[in-house]
């Protein structure tokens, strides 16, 4: 592991031989930049992973059960076994991500040693720590974290997350929560860009986030790291909706492999994400997909995954 400090990640990284550094924030965010306008698909087998790559996925998320099944089965959901993740790494040429429980830095250490390309510190798994997220600055591998609002996003970034995704409500096939989270984050960003310098301290207080990050938003008009969407994407139009709302790429969990025709739907979601602002193409790729995954009304859920994380 290479330590990098929150204050100035690039300069603070210990000098490596030949003026080289691994695991800097620039290198971590760099991979997120490369995934933009792409689709990251949840896969549970090597065969799923190949279907995802064949359809044009930019990365796969290797996990034991998709969120819809985790929700159905109940119990404690943990990091997937290394053999399972390795079988997926072997099966594809694109980046492979894997999930660690919130706060479970030892699971993250295992995933880093295994050589995954990104770790998702995910509310879909059962949290391991009720107060602390992983100190992500301690790792060379980059992290993505979920957020329901801007304050949560900035706290994760201050802990070293190199990518933020909406939480949505995973495993429901219902996009309403992801839309709420994206609108909350982008709405507050817009309001901060018109705040005066004194108001930024109040924003930091209300968001429970470092004022330096609030200032960065005031100046840049965007999150300091890429913002992707996750949670409830089931159709090409869902992907187009969240991209038009400001997401820069899309995670699809249960939506592909819980549908009638995963290969066709996967390709359609990829094309819809690339061409999210072209209704003629969206119409074309929305045809002939068969049944989408069954959706769930949020009022009927026993467990709200999005409420996990602090």
């Amino acid at each position: 592991m290479t330590a990098a400090e929150p204050s100035d990640a690039v300069a603070a990284t210990p000098p490596a031989p030949l003026g080289r550094a691994q695991g800097t924030m620039r290198v971590k965010r760099g991979l997120a930049e490369m995934l933009k306008r792409g689709v990251i698909m949840d896969v549970v087998t090597a065969e799923h992973a190949r279907i995802a790559e064949d359809a044009g996925a930019v990365a796969v998320m290797a996990l034991e059960r998709v969120p819809a099944d985790i929700r159905r089965d109940g119990g404690v959901a943990r990091m997937s076994p290394p053999e399972m993740i390795e079988s997926i790494v072997e099966a594809v040429t694109i980046p492979v991500m894997a999930k660690a429980r919130i706060g479970h830095f030892a699971e993250a250490q295992v995933l880093e040693a295994l050589g995954v390309d990104y770790i998702d510190e995910s509310e879909v798994l059962t949290p391991a720590d009720e107060a602390h997220h992983i100190d992500k600055w301690q790792f060379t591998v980059p992290f993505v974290c979920g957020a329901t609002n801007l304050g949560e996003a900035l706290r994760r970034i201050s802990e070293g997350a190199a990518m933020i995704r909406s939480k949505g409500e995973a495993g429901t096939g219902n996009i309403v929560e992801a839309v709420r989270h994206l609108r909350s984050i982008t709405g507050d960003i817009r309001r901060i860009t018109v705040a005066d310098s004194a108001e930024l301290y109040d924003w930091a207080k209300r968001l429970q986030a470092p004022v330096a990050l609030v200032r960065e938003i005031a100046e840049g008009g965007r999150l300091p790291v890429p913002m992707f969407c996750a949670g409830g994407v089931a159709t090409p139009a869902d992907a187009a909706l969240v991209m038009q709302l400001g997401a820069e790429a899309v995670f699809v969990g249960s939506g592909i492999f819980k549908s009638d025709d995963p290969a066709t739907r996967a390709k359609a979601v990829v094309e819809a994400t690339t061409n999210f602002d072209d209704p003629a193409i969206l119409l074309k790729v929305s045809r002939g997909l068969g049944e989408a995954m069954p959706g769930l009304e949020l009022e009927n859920l026993e467990t709200r995954l999005a409420e996990r994380g602090w």
């Binding site: 930049e33 933009k36 792409g38 044009g56 996925a57 694109i94 880093e112 990829v270």
Partner: protein
């Protein structure tokens, strides 16, 4: 002069921003009519397999091959270099390589993301101060043809090369905020 950035998937926005900040007219390219409207092109980083499939989906494969064959000034970075290469190993059998740059490249040759890095890279045509070159799951160029000029090396491998109007680099100039390579590409081929 208008520079297009292929924007099907990947780091297109950062290239567009870099071009605009050096005062060059820049436009995203996702459709054949948008390709026809630009004078030169940047092929950005991203996933080369995805970009290749989206070239087919959006009807750009044929038009791009024609423009490259017609001698359009082009810069490919990372995945973009793979699209320009004559030969790609460790990729998918069905991914396009247009052969505009007579090189052979190995995809994702450094290993997983934990092996990605940034390095101070001397690039002679950019002047004495090195460029911070960011390598993200980068390819390695394993062979360069006789007509290819190598402008920078790292560990004995070419990391920036050109063949006439076609340039390729295995790193990401758009991630460092250093605009010198974009400027050189726009000036040299004018």
């Amino acid at each position: 002069m208008k520079v297009g950035v292929l924007a099907l998937q990947g780091a297109a926005e950062l290239h567009l921003a870099a071009l605009r900040s050096i005062g060059v007219a820049a436009a995203a390219v996702r459709r054949p009519d948008e390709l026809a409207d630009v004078d030169r092109l940047i092929l950005p980083g991203g996933e080369s397999t995805t970009i290749s499939m989206m070239l087919d989906a959006n009807g750009l494969t044929g038009p791009l091959a024609e423009r490259l064959a017609g001698g359009m000034s082009t810069l490919g970075t990372c995945a973009g270099l793979l699209l320009l290469a004559a030969e790609v190993s460790d990729g998918r059998d069905d991914q396009h390589c247009f052969g505009a740059l007579d090189i052979s490249a190995r995809r994702n040759a450094y290993g997983s993301q934990t092996e990605s890095f940034e390095a101070d890279l001397p690039i002679a045509p950019l002047g004495p101060s090195p460029m911070t070159a960011v390598f993200i799951r980068s390819p390695i160029v394993e062979r360069v043809g006789p007509g290819v000029e190598v402008l920078a090396h790292l560990d004995g491998h070419p990391v920036l090369c050109r063949q006439g109007r076609v340039w390729g680099c295995t790193f990401h100039p758009e991630l460092s905020g250093d605009l010198r390579l974009h400027r050189l590409f726009c000036e040299e081929t004018a």
